[in-house]
Amino acid sequence: MSSTEESAAAPMVELTHVTKTFHRGAETLTVLDGLSLSIAEGSFEALMGPSGSGKSTLLNLVAGLDRATSGKVRVAGQDLTAMTDGDLAAFRARYIGFIFQSYNLMPVLTALENVELPLLLTKLPSADRKRRAATALRVVGLEDRADHYPRQLSGGQEQRVAIARALVNDPKIIVADEPTGDLDRKSADQILALLEKLNKDFKKTVVMVTHDPEAASHARVTHHLNKGAFQ
């Protein structure tokens, strides 16, 4: 289904005629082809599509991880196309919370330290950082695992720590790239319930890439991509 759902809220994400091309030797590969998209603040939207359809590339543009070749990308009121690399890094630290498929926790850090990681870029004192990280862990129900290392946690618990890390700097948007891809059904359902909670209770805008129709069903809006365009 292509998104046409209207919302009264101001758009949190606004892409206008966005094109993204990659060069592989002499070959130019167009991954996103003049794509436009608007995601309202407080929405929970899913991006689906086959491999190579451009859904992760689109997510990267929304998250400020990559730049569009042409077109305009506005997120949280910021024009990402005009930003320097340093500005983009600051934007990500301030506005974006990331959740990855393979959790991507630092194995040498405890759960609490992993959650605290994004706060190292702030000027918060150590005690405040720890308090906020502990609060985020409580939100995902893992306060009793604060001193555990990732190898001591199950996959579902690792992903919940990753969600706490995404949440700790109070971002406007949560971007989740296949957040349930490595999990069993039960753990996946817990993660999806948690994302819904973040959306509903914490008013976070959630943009999720998934292959899983069951996961997509938790989103209010689902966008289908194929060959760089919405179907």
């Binding site: 992760s56 340093g86 890094a89 991507n104 630092m106 850090l109 330290e113 994004p118 190292l120 870029l121």
Partner: protein
């Protein structure tokens, strides 16, 4: 947790690899410390040369001798406090033919005045002065040859052929490093009187103490000027320069040791480089995650260089911790006891320890420069390997 502690956490990540690297680098540090200590122990005579002593030798070569009467002229030169002389005897102990030790014919009274760092008991001193066949022996040499006061020893002369009988009058030590504690010192008169008439009254070199060390070069020049009109001219120089000219004979060996030290540093660099490159390559995705969270390229470079610095420092400390028991108290003791004439003070200098630690730290960081620059230059998406 802070940015610095985050950087060092990765050191213990792959414990087996880190342990191997630490051990490998530590062994290299031990080898480096050992070689540098060999050099510093050989240079000790230069480093610790007395500032108020000058050596006077034949202008052409060390091996050519001076007339005995020159000592009186030197003593009369303004600025000279006292003077003595010595001949290289080149004696060997037939019981220990493999042992090399300096045997010098000296004038005992003036020698002890000029070399006031020679510590010998009053009784030994009196015994030596009174006995023309008497000799004093450095404590290191005495241990090596198992000599005690009162012993009689026969040395065979290499420069002055024949068997020469000596009585061990005393054992000396030294209050400063400028004196070798493995020498065999005996009466010049004993040698001189035994020589045929044509070889008598020839001395190897003169050593003079000056009143004012800051005027040593002026006194040296004055002495040489005095003998310029004689049939045998002299070359005078500070004790340090004189020792340096001895060192020059071993320049090939020192150059080889320096070259090996350089190779060891290169090995250090490669060991670190291999470990850091592997670690950084394995963690590329994590650096991508950090970049995604808002960390900047300089943070990534800082994490990698911080980890390398921690590894380098740890390896350096471990290497030094191994060096002291192995080099200073193991090999060093053996060398001092068995090769005391060449390496009388085999001790790890503070500067050598600092060099080893500094090189370990610097090379650790240097080895990580390229991986750090590469990792920090990766785009976030490349680091995350997400381009589909």
């Amino acid at each position: 947790m802070n940015l610095a502690s985050l950087a060092t956490r990765n050191v213990g990540r792959n414990r087996f690899r880190t342990a191997l690297t630490l051990l490998g680098v530590a062994v290299a540090v031990v080898a480096f410390v050992m070689l540098r200590t060999v050099i510093s122990s050989m240079e000790v005579a230069v480093t610790h040369a007395a500032h108020d002593r000058i050596g006077i030798r034949h202008k052409v070569s060390f091996v050519m001798q001076l007339p005995r009467r020159y000592i009186d002229t030197v003593r009369q030169t303004p600025g000279v406090h006292s003077a003595t002389w010595a001949n290289w005897f080149g004696g060997k102990d037939p019981r220990n033919p493999r042992e090399f030790f300096p045997t010098l014919a000296v004038d005992p009274a003036s020698f002890l005045e000029v070399y006031d760092e020679v510590a010998v008991s009053p009784a030994d001193r009196e015994r030596w002065l009174a006995d023309r066949q008497g000799a004093i022996v450095g404590d290191q040499l005495a241990r090596l040859l198992r000599l005690r006061v009162g012993d009689t020893i026969t040395l065979s002369g290499t420069i002055y052929p024949g068997n020469w009988v000596f009585h061990v009058s005393g054992i000396y030590t030294a209050t400063r490093r400028s004196m070798d504690r493995s020498e065999f010192l005996f009466h010049w008169d004993y040698l001189n009187n035994a020589l045929p008439e044509r070889r008598r009254d020839q001395i190897g070199w003169i050593i003079a103490r000056v009143d004012d060390p800051s005027r040593a070069s002026g006194v040296s020049a004055a002495i040489d000027r005095t003998f310029d009109v004689q049939d045998i001219q002299t070359l005078s120089m500070s004790e340090r320069s004189m020792n340096l000219s001895f060192m020059g004979m071993m320049s090939g060996l020192l150059a080889a040791i320096n070259a090996i030290s350089g190779i060891i540093l290169l090995i250090l660099l490669m060991l670190f480089g291999n470990t850091m490159s592997m670690g950084v390559r394995e963690r590329t995705q994590e650096y991508g995650v950090l970049r995604a969270l808002g960390f900047l390229p300089k943070h990534i470079a800082g994490f990698i260089l911080g980890e390398a610095a921690a590894l380098g420092l740890a390896a350096g400390v471990l290497g030094l911790a191994l060096s002291y028991p192995l080099v200073q108290y193991g090999l060093g003791r053996w060398l001092e006891e068995n090769m005391g004439s060449m390496v009388p003070y085999f001790r790890i200098e503070t500067s050598t320890a600092a060099q080893a630690l500094g090189f370990s730290l610097l090379l650790g960081v240097a080895s990580a420069l390229i991986p750090a620059v590469r990792a920090s230059r990766l785009t976030v998406t490349d680091a995350l390997r997400r381009i589909d």
